[in-house]
Amino acid sequence: MRDHAPVTVRLVYLARLREALGAPGESVALAGEATVSALLESLRSRGGAFASELASGRPVRIAVNHAVAADSTPLRDGDEVALFPPVTGG
């Protein structure tokens, strides 16, 4: 990846988060650091439901390209990043 290349990721909101955030997902361009924690910080800065639903301490799970991710997981251009509540299947 080139230095300072823009990183655009596709966000997928699932289950309760999709309803709370009012959309099934969106594309987001990240300026600067491209990690899960930087993405979450940028979403929280929008305020409203994004700030309350994604506040630290809320049980939000993240997957990058279908693999469970951590705050430090790096994001690359074109990644699919899913945000969802703890699972309740079975």
């Binding site: 279908h66 309740t88 299947g89």
Partner: protein, 156 residues
Amino acid sequence: MPVRVQLDDFDASREIAALRAGDPRVGAVACFIGTVRDVNDDADVRSLTLEHYPGMTEAALQSIADEARARFDIYDVLVVHRVGELRPTDQIVLVAVTSAHRGEAFDACRFVMDYLKTRAPFWKKERTPSGERWVEARASDDDAAARWRDDASEPR
């Protein structure tokens, strides 16, 4: 190690017959079926909508089945999980495990369900007389999955 996510109901006896067909090594089949209850957290449940994350859900189920095969002396694992709108008494999930002997089959079946409950991306929304609500994850499910962390063969 088939895993499937589907809208349609399943026929457990047909699924099990297919799982062990032509395999004379099999001496035990353990099976779990999860069904929709009409009461959850003290509320009447009229119906349940199950949502998943296509792609990741199948991969997560496959990974759980693979881990069961690595941990237990078993031959095969089947997981069928339904999505969409379900009603009380409907079947939700089928896990079936084949093995030479019952002990490994029982343990692997329980392991797969315990991991599925905490790791497979499915979400339940209940419709009750007072409205709709998303089901909250249970700490007891985390505890059940955690029991498998230290011991490869038995819970706790």
